[in-house]
């Protein structure tokens, strides 16, 4: 092939340009830490990276949801534990009050303590987490449990509905359908929901089995002070309710364990997806620096060869 000057210069410029472009690419990668400027640089990779980004965004959200669910359950657990200790104390007092040696005055003194326990129980059943009611079902803003005095009768209200007549333990109020069936669910995985709410009626019961109603009945019996058998009746109910609370505690504990497990899995997912994303998008610095250095050598040598090749012509050697 015949070599001409313009051809040589043209080729040289093309090649210099290519080499420079390669260096520019490595420089960009190193400066930004990102391997891709445009999706077309790695069409297969970009799909994986976008997928990983989506999954990461989901995993982050699920992790947040799991944390929130966990905090909510911890609050529930605290309230349940408190209720349990209140029942234990009420049980001790009932046993003490049922003792035939006690005078009515003694029993009335015990009743005072039971009254205090009742207040504490009401507080525990209106427990809230971050301003939201734990046992209220869909009612998250108002205290679910209230005591209402109406025509000399005392009622226990749940979300505004009468669930127990405190003055008359033998009357069973009409319980509205569907009460306590509301479930607040958090999504803790793709399509995986966890019911984190615990309905107040499930926990405390309705009618004269309701713990508060039982406490109230115990209080009335002690305050009356004359009937030890009536006090005795409460003991059995308290034992039964304690079992209930303990089984709810076990349920919360089970859910907490499940959350821990899910969280571990989410963390592993997070690691995997971060790795995939990083593999596609992030620069392998050692590799790119090596490649940059190689490109630099090529560029430098093409410059030096170019400088020598375009200078001399026959002209330099003609006298």
């Amino acid at each position: 092939m015949r070599i001409t000057n313009s051809m040589m210069i043209g080729q040289l410029m093309n090649n210099l340009n290519k080499n420079l472009k390669r260096m520019e690419n490595y420089q960009y990668q190193l400066a930004t830490g990102s391997r891709l400027q445009r999706p077309s640089q790695d069409p297969v990779g970009i799909t994986r990276s976008l997928q990983a980004r989506t999954e990461l965004s989901k995993v982050h959200q699920y992790k947040k949801n799991v944390d929130d669910a966990g905090a909510w359950l911890t609050q529930t657990e605290t309230a349940l534990t408190e209720m349990n200790s209140l029942i234990v104390r009420a049980y001790e007092l009932a046993v003490d009050g049922a003792n035939g040696d006690k005078t009515p005055e003694d029993r009335q003194a015990i009743a005072r303590e039971v009254e205090e326990l009742m207040n504490q129980l009401l507080e525990a059943s209106n427990a809230s987490y971050a301003g939201r009611q734990v046992f209220g079902g869909y009612n998250t803003t108002e205290k679910p449990f209230e005591v209402l005095d109406d025509n000399g009768q005392s009622y226990l209200l749940y979300n505004g509905q009468r669930i127990a007549n405190l003055s008359d333990p033998n009357s069973q109020p009409i319980i509205p359908d569907g009460i306590g069936s509301e479930r607040i669910e958090f999504e803790i995985g793709s399509g995986v929901f966890m019911d984190i709410s615990m309905s107040g009626t499930d926990v405390l019961g309705v009618g004269n089995d309701n713990i508060y109603a039982v406490f109230h009945e115990l209080y009335d019996a002690l305050n009356d002070g004359t009937d030890a058998d009536r006090v005795n009746e409460s003991i059995g109910k308290l034992q039964f309710q304690q079992q209930e609370i303990l089984s709810h505690l076990a349920e919360v504990g089970g859910k907490t364990n499940r959350l821990d497990l899910i969280k571990t899995r989410l963390e592993m997912d997070e690691m995997n997806y971060t790795e995939i994303k990083s593999q596609v998008e992030d620069v392998d610095h050692e590799k790119v620096i090596m490649e940059f250095l190689m490109a630099e050598i090529v560029y430098r040598s093409s410059l030096s060869v170019g400088a020598r090749i375009i200078q001399p012509t026959l002209l330099d050697f003609l006298r």
Binding site: T4, N5, Q11, P39, L50, R132, N139, T141
Partner: protein, 502 residues
């Protein structure tokens, strides 16, 4: 019988030829860097004895010498076959160049992967809805949902506007290119005439031909052409069999804004390319013009252009609005002040105050409904009526959960899954753009190598010209010396002969 001054005549011809040779060398060197310049060579031949009228008897004599040198022509060293190949590939190069540029621009419009692309904005939106599901009574979180919904719609608007802007630029480029083609063909026509007139005397119009070749090169990058030169020196350029330039006649093109925009209704008409003075469309088989047209009009997966991407975005926006509204309309709003809890509320719409019709939704017009703009409490998160007088339902998050669940839905009509659809759009674009870049790269290498071949044949080599120069210089000196010798011989003959004994 040889004439007395015959030798001087031969030497004179030698001098002239060498001088001419030096001129040609000078011309070549002067144009060593002129684009499109084809090196020229002086073609000489010897004159056989007895011609030129110097000795009518010479044929009969023995040992006759020729009568010197004559200039045959000033020829160009050029390979027409390589020209043809080069122009064919140059047409493809022009097409891939414009296509690649445009696709890369579209890639930068989509800004992926980044925290500002459609995928990221969509993820943010769904994340907010999850938060709302956990805390449906919170005004702050509802405001966040609305804010990110606005961000999502604005991202779609932005994509749409940028696409249409790019399309407009491509359209303008088509008009400009048509004018460029018209300029070139007028120039070719003028050159045709000049070359023909120049060459009618038998000379070669080398430099004019160089100019014309450059123009044909340029033309070949703009549009696919066929061209040939008849044996009587008339040059013709066709587009798909229709005459563009035929020697000294030409037919220009015109761009007429009469094509409906395939990217959607209500957009400006686009240019079509017609033969001037007719209503016949020009068949465009390649070149930059085809690149612009394909990007501007491409509407199918095997010919992706702006309308294709706009339609995908419209599909996405339509499905987003339809699916979201479908679930949202089942929900109940949170009452605020005197407002009661309501149901059947739309989340997205195409025009506030108009009845919602999912088929009218586009990436350009998708927006939040008036209800959502009025109050964030109108985001319907609850699955049942919420009555603030008996505040026991505001924690209901059933609809919020269903809205969040749309993220994982895989079988939505039209698009399957929101995020997969958005990802596939980017993946399609990436594959198309990368394919185009690879084609361009290959085409560039091909045209470069043809260009190298061409330069190898036609380019000026300074070393070669120097060598030629020395060659001619020596020849000139030698011819001059021959004259001196002749002169000396004549001197002897004329001034010193017959002086014996004087």
């Amino acid at each position: 019988m040889r004439s007395t001054f015959y030798g001087l005549e031969i030497a004179r011809k030698g001098l002239f030829a060498s001088q001419k040779g030096l001129d040609v060398t000078g011309h070549n060197i002067a144009n060593a860097n002129t684009p499109g310049y084809t090196r020229q060579r002086l073609v000489t031949s010897s004159i056989e004895p007895g011609t030129g009228g110097y000795g009518q008897f010479t044929y009969t004599a023995k040992g006759q010498v020729g009568s010197g040198v004559t200039i045959q022509e000033l020829s160009q060293i050029r390979d027409k076959f390589i020209d043809m190949q080069y122009r064919k590939e140059n047409t493809a190069l022009g097409e891939w160049t414009t296509r690649t540029d445009a696709l890369q621009y579209i890639e930068s419009i989509f800004r992926e992967p980044s925290d500002a692309g459609l995928n990221a904005v969509l993820a943010d939106f769904f994340t907010d809805i999850q938060e709302m599901a956990k805390n449906p009574e919170s005004k702050e979180i509802r405001a966040l949902v609305r804010q990110d919904a606005i961000k999502l719609t604005e991202t779609l608007h932005h994509y749409h506007d940028q696409m249409i802007q790019l399309q407009r630029e491509q359209d303008t480029a088509i008009d400009i290119t048509v004018n460029e083609i018209n300029d070139i063909i007028k120039n070719i026509r003028d050159l045709n005439e000049q070359i023909f007139r120049f060459e009618i005397g038998g000379d070669k119009a080398n430099d004019l031909r160089d100019k014309r070749n450059v123009l044909v090169d340029e033309l070949s990058s703009l549009i696919k052409i066929e061209y040939y030169e008849t044996s009587d020196g008339k040059f013709r350029v066709d587009i798909n069999g229709m005459v563009l330039v035929d020697h000294n006649k030409y037919q220009t093109l015109k761009a007429v804004k009469d094509v409906d925009n395939p990217a959607g209704e209500g957009l400006d008409n686009l240019y079509s390319i017609k033969w001037s003075g007719t209503n016949i469309d020009v068949a465009i088989g390649g070149g930059k013009l085809k690149g612009y047209l394909d990007i501007r009009d491409g509407n199918s997966p095997d010919r992706m252009g702006i309308p294709y991407f706009v339609k995908q975005l419209n599909t996405f926006a339509g499905a987003l609005a339809a699916e979201f509204n479908r679930v949202h309309e089942d929900g109940w709003t949170l009452p605020e002040g005197d407002n009661e809890s309501r149901t059947g509320i739309e989340f997205f719409t195409h025009e506030r105050g108009q009845a919602f019709d999912p088929s009218l939704i586009t990436a350009k017009n998708i927006t939040l409904s008036q209800d959502i703009i009025d109050s964030v409490y109108n985001i319907a998160a609850s699955g049942q009526e919420v009555d603030m007088a008996h505040p026991d339902k505001q924690g209901d998050n059933a609809i919020a959960l269903r809205l969040a669940g749309l993220r994982d839905a895989k079988t939505l009509p039209m698009i399957g899954s929101f995020e997969n659809f958005a990802k596939r759009l980017i993946a399609d674009l990436a594959v198309e753009s990368s394919h185009s870049q690879k084609m361009l790269e290959g085409q560039q290498i091909l045209t470069d190598s043809l260009e190298v071949n061409r330069l190898s044949i036609s380019g000026v080599s300074l070393d070669e010209e120097m060598t030629m120069m020395i060659q001619y210089q020596h020849a000139y000196a030698a011819a001059a010396r021959t004259i001196s010798v002749m002169d000396e011989a004549l001197e002897i003959l004329i001034n010193r002969t017959g002086l014996v004994g004087r």
